[in-house]
């Protein structure tokens, strides 16, 4: 694949997961292995989706690669450095926006939260908040509270909050699982647009195979508990995709069949 030393920046690895294993309650009699061994790499500018059947330890994996949880074995390196806590250049979007947004702050203050934590001056902060909310199509809600918005809009605020400090890598944990189907398509397209405009690297965890194909450049398919990587599938749709055409193309359907057979093996 990569002809080494040609252009080093072209295939810069943002995230390297090597032999990651996670056992809960390790050493006790109810020890539970969520992840057996998982290894993969994410290059700069790439969109990688992680799919797997329910209970495949997807959220556990995301917690480990984001630095929220520490792995039992193996290493996770972000831009070449091993993780100790959540890196500064990482944005995280959780599934449940109603639990991750702070209801006592307005949307603008929610988005400003990581900025003030990074010591950004007040004036610059206000401009950045407005700009980021604008980028997710919510220019008019800075003074409102999250609970005054619909579910899809709340998740947009959460995405804006994760993008406000311009992270290198955006990690998303089932970000569209709690919204209705129409909103889901809108948010998927929003993420593709944001990614095109900001040139950001994205890792998205989902249980939805169609979503993974529609969004991803590569798809990491996990087995069920305890997880191993079954296959890493390349998706060749480029950066311009459309909900109607892409999803009905023969390549899409072929990939879909292939992934389904991986996620739901008949011999088990």
């Amino acid at each position: 694949m990569s002809i080494a030393t040609a252009v080093p920046t072209a295939t810069e690895t943002v995230l390297a997961v090597d032999g990651l294993r996670k056992i809960y309650d390790e050493g006790t009699d109810h020890a539970n292995m969520a992840i057996d061994t998982v290894s993969f790499e994410v290059d700069k500018g790439e969109f990688v989706c992680i799919v797997g059947p329910s209970g495949a330890g997807k959220t556990t994996l995301l917690r480990c690669i984001s630095g929220l949880a520490s792995p039992s074995a193996g290493t996770v390196a972000f831009e070449g450095r091993p993780l100790s806590g959540v890196p500064e250049q990482l944005g995280l979007v959780f599934q449940d926006y109603s639990r991750s947004l702070y209801p006592w702050f307005t949307n603008g203050d929610n988005v400003a939260l990581p900025l003030s934590a990074r010591g950004m001056p007040r004036a610059e902060r206000a401009a950045r908040v407005a700009e980021t909310l604008e980028a997710v199509g919510l220019g008019h809600v800075a003074k409102k509270y999250p609970w005054e918005l619909s579910g899809g809009m709340q998740q947009r605020v959460a995405i804006a909050r994760a993008l406000s400090y311009r992270p290198e890598l955006l990690l998303m944990d089932e970000p569209f699982a709690s919204v209705d189907a129409q909103t889901r398509f809108d948010l998927e397209d929003l993420i593709l647009k944001v990614r095109r405009e900001l040139g950001i690297t994205v890792v998205l965890v989902t249980h939805d195979i169609d979503e993974a194909i529609y969004l991803g450049d590569r798809i990491v398919v996990l087995s069920k508990n305890p997880s191993v990587v079954r296959e890493i599938v390349e998706v060749q749709f480029g950066s311009e995709r459309s909900q109607v055409e892409t999803r009905s193309s023969p390549e899409f359907l072929e990939l879909r069949n292939h992934l389904l057979s991986l996620v739901m093996p008949k011999d088990v």
């Binding site: 984001s66 929220l68 639990r99 702070y102 939260l113 509270y145 609970w147």
Partner: protein
């Protein structure tokens, strides 16, 4: 559709049509019972000759005379000042102590039995000890009020902070808020509704302790006034003290609710939206 009955099935009222009559009803609903009770009190005692239950009209006149004309209002000022100082100290200790116990698990485990021991101990029982330590005077009153108002706030603070959603803590870590920012932007506001409940319970305890502490070995305050009047067999005067006390308690409670509704507007408004 045929209508089954007219009296048993509640009909849907038109939403917009807010007549003047309904608005009047909205105002009257919360006040009609107190007004009725006052009227009953007024008429039942109007011709009373019992020394224990003087006519309400006489009590009101005497309240004006005692508290405004004869200058007993200084007692109320002393009481309220002691209450506020003791309350602020006690609840501050409660919030800070509750936060420390939330943060330091070992301290929490170690302190747990002691806290519950002090919590169930009726604060007035400490009055003799307080007199021995602080002597007679405002300091003792303040100390007792502070001591009593610590516990409801402390326990509610701890409980509220422990109940803050784990996803919100993950979010704080992901946003790299850091320790103090996490405390002031997440933990404190997140526990806010329950801290407010604790503060309110502390206020009630504080008012009780204010009166009780003034009834034992004191020389000023509303409690002192009430007890003094009773000892002089000036029953009407005693009633005026009770009336003023009730008035102060009500005002303080309304004031508290007023401030709370403003501070926790996000909470009440989001709940109102969620339930509709």
């Amino acid at each position: 559709m045929t209508r089954v009955t007219t009296s048993l099935v509640p009909t849907v009222r038109p939403r917009r049509a807010k007549s003047g009559l309904r608005r009047l009803g909205q105002v009257l609903t919360p006040v009609w019972l107190p007004l009725l009770l006052i009227a009953v009190w007024w008429f039942a005692t109007a011709n009373s000759t019992s020394p224990f239950f003087p006519p309400l009209g006489d009590i009101l006149v005497d309240t004006w005379n005692q508290w405004v004309v004869f200058g007993a209002w200084t007692n109320a000022v002393v009481s309220v000042r002691n209450l506020l100082i003791g309350y602020v100290f006690g609840t501050l200790i409660g919030i800070i102590g509750g936060s420390l116990l939330w943060r330091l698990r070992y301290l929490r485990v170690a302190m747990n039995p002691i806290i519950y021991f002090l919590y169930v101990l009726p604060a007035p029982a400490l009055l003799p000890a307080m007199i021995a330590i602080f002597g007679i005077g405002d300091m003792r009153q303040i100390a007792l009020i502070a001591l009593g108002s610590i516990w409801p706030t402390l326990l509610n603070t701890l409980d509220g902070m422990r109940g803050v959603d784990t996803v919100k803590f993950d979010t704080a870590k992901a946003l790299r808020l850091g320790g103090w920012r996490t405390y002031f932007r997440l933990v404190l506001p997140g526990a806010g509704p329950q801290i407010a409940a604790g503060l309110r319970a502390s206020l009630t305890v504080g008012i009780v302790l204010m009166v009780v502490s003034e009834m034992v070995a004191a020389n000023s305050g509303i409690g002192f006034f009430i007890l003094q009047a009773q000892a002089e067999f000036a029953i009407k005067k005693m009633w005026t003290g009770i009336l003023v006390l009730a008035l102060i308690g009500t005002v303080l409670n309304y004031l508290f609710v007023f401030v709370e509704r403003r501070a926790l507007r996000w909470y009440y408004r989001s709940r109102a939206l969620g339930s509709s």
